[in-house]
Symmetry: C2
Subunit: 351 residues, 2 copies
DNA sequence: GGCCGGACATGATACGTATAACTTCCGGCG
DNA sequence: CGCCGGAAGTTATACGTATCATGTCCGGCC
């Protein structure tokens, strides 16, 4: 369709495919100033260097021509890209999709972009997961669940913000946490108040801080409650795995637990299925709790009692911490509060 | 040997923050060749231009020094960024998260990156949604559901691949479709075979090709089946909305439908809740079908009969089409097959 | 012997931007 | 009067890469 009719430069032929690009030099010509002046004005560094009148005419020309600074050129010159990498274990998890949304929104306000790295299991094992992309990143935000990716990141020399990780981990420039332990304690208190004494914990079979934290907090809470038992059953993070783990927990030689605490709503959904397959009812015979408060939590019946995690805010806080770190500030470690949402999947312990 | 190694340039100070970056010139010095030779070798354009021995030593030097080409410089020179934009209506939807995964994987194989634009509702209304980012994109893949974003894209002069859109839409360089109509026909055939005659269609209240297609295919299928009725009830894409719409469909003045076809699994989950709240059973009194086959489909009970959409493959096909378009090929419109997955939420029509 | 062509190699740009360094113009002050 | 200092601009670079233009050295062929 469109033909190239632009005058050819003598050497090279880098030209852009589509319409001719508008450069800062074009704006300068239109406004009757030098290219440097355009850069100063649009970069808002013109006070005392360019008269207000010329500044305005530069802005007008830029607007009229539809000028967009070339980001590659800017990055080359400044050495920064205004782009952050978000490393998550698997994007298909609604939780991390929401984290991404929050991070993207905050980034946009600061003129930053976000690229996503859904961790090896989603992408396939690359010898160097970040490759040249490393040259186009200013910093990284990583979930502590993406363990393998973290190893590759180590030594990249990029500012790193960790999500839900040990605050003492010195690989990170900053850490943002959810009050996971607090959430777990709320779950424990809720079940104790309902009279439950024998508890199963369907614990995520993933080596990461956030799940270890759930385990520790629950262990502490029930250790402090006389006459209670807490049995840990590992599980993968899927409906099917939750079903299998719950079946194990409910059919062991020990007295059957009256409540199952699940590390994830998806697991909890599977657990509810297991309860019913054994001819029992939720919550009359067995109470079930989840974690995350995904859309799933209100899609199943009964609706899940679960811990609501502020996912978008979590991503936003991570991005803010990264932006602070890039500005040279040492951001304080933050912990975001979480809330127990009581719904139909929990009830009084059976007599 | 080497000639000039000025200690410090007098002007500018763009240097990189972290460790000193390795450039192609450093590699050239280490390998005892010119910078041009390095570029040729690593760009795999050296045959007949560089001896095999020198090529190997260049590669060795690059490896030893941990050289990574600077993408900003490369983009500036070539005018391409090897980056595509994926525009989706809302990432929190598991379906689009999976589309993203597929697209990212295919892109990575071609050395491309993917950035995500989760459409205004997720980001907030920006006057120019893409801003300068436009200068850093080679092409766009957009869901037809992201209507507002498409308007902003129009005229950007970027190659555009549309997902699930009218093949005749001339805004797109290529279109990749799912066989949505085929899926809808399979649902219709399944329900007809089970003896259902009064059907409700909980139709997504979203103005996009893919949902219009569902409506058309269903209308055609039931129009061709004598003695059947199809009633359309609009709904938003959420559990709560599905519950409300299903309640409307089941409590109207007309004879109650015996089956509800839902445009999305999330809606179907809500519909199942509605059925039970009315004191009815799924599937004995009312059959329910979904669309997408999300994790949700097997989390609820009974598990949903639904149309499985190959989401990852869909994203991958979109990316392939874009890569073809960027290579100057006119990619043929593709339609990916879908499958009906029969589960417990459908059964014989009540007598 | 002169010349041609292919292999090998280097030099020299230019992409578009941000900013240091320089120039000019004035008003004010010693 | 001479000089200083700040405002208002411009000029000149350099970021790192890809590629065109040049150049040299051969062996082979007339």
């Amino acid at each position: 369709m469109s033909s190239n009719d632009a005058p050819r430069p003598a050497t090279g032929e880098p030209a852009r495919a589509g319409a001719a690009r508008v450069t800062s030099r074009d704006v300068a010509r239109a406004a009757g100033v030098s290219q440097a002046a355009v850069s100063l004005v649009l970069g808002d560094k013109w006070r005392g260097r360019v008269s207000a009148a010329k500044a305005e005419s530069v802005r007008a020309a830029a607007r009229d021509l539809g000028y967009r600074p070339n980001l590659a050129a800017r990055s080359l010159r400044t050495g920064r890209t205004r782009t952050a990498l978000l490393v998550v274990p698997a994007l298909t998890t609604e939780f991390f999709a929401r984290v991404h949304t929050g991070a993207t929104r905050t980034a946009a306000d600061a003129g930053f972009g976000v690229v996503l790295y859904p961790s090896p299991e989603g992408i396939g094992p690359a010898p160097d997961p970040f490759g040249s992309a490393r040259t186009s990143l200013d910093g990284v935000i990583a979930s502590s669940m993406a363990v393998d990716a973290l190893a590759a990141l180590h030594g990249a020399g990029l500012p790193l913000v960790m999500l839900d990780n040990d605050p003492d981990d010195d690989r990170a420039a900053a850490t943002v946490n959810l009050d996971i332990a607090g959430g777990a304690r709320q779950v424990a208190a809720h079940l104790l108040a309902l009279g439950h004494r024998r508890i199963g914990h369907l614990a995520a079979d993933v080596d990461s801080w956030t799940f270890a934290e759930r385990g520790r907090a629950l262990a502490d809470a029930f250790a402090a409650a006389p006459g209670t038992t807490l049995r840990r059953v590992p599980t993968a993070l899927s409906v099917a795995a939750g079903l299998a783990a719950a079946t194990t927990a409910l059919t062991g030689p020990e007295p059957r637990p009256t409540a199952l605490i699940c590390d994830d709503d998806v697991v909890a959904a599977g657990a509810c299925k297991a309860v019913r397959r054994l001819g029992l009812r939720v919550p009359e015979d067995v109470s079930v709790t989840g974690f995350d408060d995904l859309a799933l939590a209100t899609a199943v019946e009964p609706e899940l009692t679960t811990v609501r995690l502020p996912a978008e805010e979590f991503g936003a806080a991570g991005m803010r911490a990264l932006l602070d770190a890039l500005d040279g500030h040492r951001p304080a470690a933050r912990t975001l509060p979480v809330d127990l949402v009581t719904r139909g999947s929990t009830g009084p312990a059976p007599a």
